[in-house]
Symmetry: C2
Subunit: 197 residues, 2 copies
């Protein structure tokens, strides 16, 4: 397409975002061009500000504005640790309001095909943290897919010698769902994980 | 969700983009936070630059970087005018390489429910342009939906007294498509528009 130069640059930029193809990028670019200049500047500023003000906690890897809202909170259970793949997973677990322990964000999952091994996830640092800070229980909340399963299995083996209790969050039917639409794997995991009532 | 302030602001900004809901906005925001600072700044700068360097041609409403690439091109047919709804439609028609006339961008379509009437689309300005600049043929290329149809019908009535030829681009089966998947309306329009061969 014969884009003017400045538009092409903008569309190419938007194409780098995850899940944004050339058509969506063009849509977003035209939306911006139709906005008043102040609004475009405000969006641009919010992006740079967020980048400048937010960082990842050097201890747990969560998103932190000044100090880490989890590590620095004395009201949380500092003997309980939940391991997740991404910083956004922390926010999702927080939303449930059920978990009051600390977090450890891997920033990824084991994926040999993508060249992500234990070193890339800094698992040694995780082992040191668990050993040195009196963690008694570890909950693994990696994703229910191939990489997440592999990572959970690897972590379980790694953490066993540390004499901490290690569990993984449950698999089963999503609440509000319908058995009719459950896939076979989810259903067999739900059967496996049945609980007496 | 308990977002840090700067993240919440960014997510809210992304939510204003068309087709971007809270989940996608969060995904985009986390992608940015994972980028190096220079890249975030480059994206922010590209947005403001595009806004500053691009404008809409005061005559035809197309996207223009300095002067309008269509109105200022003496090599184009200045007696032929194609009316489209949005600036991006111009780029899509240009991509086909089939059209060599001028454009007129309405920046919308008639939609009484949204309060968009003939005044909002500046149709009087369009009539003046056609009358004053020697346009001989008008091709209406509004979208094939309710608003686009209404706009095309209204335009046809408006332009008839000007003694110009008015046509609308054809409806029918998309090339490369499969009759099996064509909807009833498209199929009946395709039959209506059949051509001897």
């Amino acid at each position: 397409m014969v884009y003017p130069g400045a538009l092409k640059k903008l569309v190419d930029m938007f194409c780098r975002f995850p899940g944004v193809g050339p058509k969506t990028a063009q849509r977003l670019a035209f939306f911006l061009l139709g906005c008043p200049r102040e609004e475009v500047v405000a969006i641009a500023r919010a992006m740079v500000e967020a980048k400048d003000r937010l960082s990842f906690c050097p201890v747990c890897g969560s998103l932190a504005e000044d100090e880490c809202p989890y590590c620095s909170d004395a009201g949380r259970d500092h003997h309980l640790l939940c391991i997740v793949q991404e910083p956004r997973d922390v926010l999702i677990l927080e939303r449930s309001g059920q978990y009051k322990g600390l977090y450890h964000v891997l920033h990824g999952a084991l994926s040999p095909l993508d060249g992500i091994g234990p070193e890339e996830l800094k698992l040694e640092q995780l082992v040191n943290r668990i050993r040195d800070t009196g963690i008694e229980e570890v909950i693994i909340a990696t994703n229910p897919n191939v990489e997440g399963d592999a990572t959970a299995g690897y972590l379980a083996g790694l953490l066993k010698p540390l004499a901490v209790m290690v569990s993984r969050i449950a698999f089963g039917l999503p609440v509000g769902g319908d058995i009719e639409y459950a896939d076979d794997l989810t259903l067999s995991r739900a059967l496996e994980g049945r609980r007496e009532m």
